[in-house]
């Protein structure tokens, strides 16, 4: 159970919700939008979503999330409220 990939499953679910929502936005703009404005906006949205997704993927690969969280929890338990920034 210790090795169960909770974080990976959570991120995969988030990813599925993210791209489903992106599809809904693009679908509505291109299907029901009148004139060129909604179509241009759909393109901008897709490009931005793709770029932001790339940034998140790069940052995820550089971040040891599981290690950082377990370290933080251990410190919170050992140091109590003295660990907080304020």
């Amino acid at each position: 159970m210790d090795n169960f990939p909770f974080l990976e499953i959570l991120l995969s679910l988030g990813l599925a919700v993210y791209w489903t929502n992106a599809f809904f936005v693009i679908y509505h703009l291109t299907r029901f939008g009148v004139g060129p404005k909604p179509k241009i906006l759909a393109l901008v949205f897709f490009a931005g979503s793709f770029a932001l997704f790339g940034v998140v993927a790069v940052l995820y690969s550089r971040t040891d999330l599981a290690g950082a969280f377990s370290m933080l929890f251990e410190r919170i338990i050992s140091a109590g409220s003295g660990l907080l920034p304020f």
Partner: protein
């Protein structure tokens, strides 16, 4: 059925008749969107404002990478939320053609109400501009009363409502002049 995304016309919409010409396409006034944009701007700078006081604490614990990763996820949500707002704004439209008036309101994803009214059914049009900002920026609500009296057509927070009222009245007069007896000349020609 035409795919509106693939057509070059600036005013093509689902159900547009080939002989129909769009007179005006209306969105809500930009001021309505501006207030929302200010909120999104504030939300965009929030992580950076938050970072300043906690940066030394993050550095001490080695959590800077985690902070920026979570910030990037926050911006993903921000981006989607911003475009959701823009989508709802762009899909809330009113179209006046030389044959009818179309009111298309989007209440959320997959929730849409489209109503239409023939120009011949228009009885009277009223304009309401309430408040200082709508008066300065010239936006307000235009109401069309139909002969049926059951339901009013409302163009909410549209720019230059008085100009739109005049255009609709002109289109109404022109429609009555060219459609004597309520007969659609284009459809009669096709028969």
């Amino acid at each position: 059925m035409k795919l509106s995304a693939l057509t070059t016309s600036h005013f093509t919409f689902e159900g547009k008749k080939p002989y129909e010409n769009v007179i005006v396409l209306l969105y809500r006034h930009w001021f309505v969107l501006l207030l929302k944009f200010i909120t999104y701007l504030f939300l965009a700078v929030l992580p950076f404002v938050l970072y300043a006081p906690i940066s030394s604490w993050l550095a001490r614990l080695g959590l800077q990478d985690v902070f920026w990763f979570l910030t990037a996820i926050y911006f993903l949500l921000w981006w989607h939320s911003l475009f959701y707002t823009l989508t709802m704004y762009l899909l809330d439209i009113w179209i006046v053609t030389d044959h009818r008036v179309i009111d298309s309101e989007q209440q959320g994803f997959f929730s849409r109400t489209v109503s239409e009214l023939s120009l011949s059914k228009i009885q009277d049009i009223s304009v309401a501009v309430r408040g200082a900002i709508p008066t300065f920026l010239d936006f307000g609500t235009l109401e069309i009363q139909t002969a049926a009296a059951a339901r009013k057509f409302e163009f909410k927070q549209i720019p230059h409502p008085n100009e739109v009222k005049d255009k609709i009245m002109r289109a109404h007069d022109e429609f009555l002049r060219t459609h004597a007896g309520g007969i659609e000349v284009h459809e009669r020609a096709e028969l």
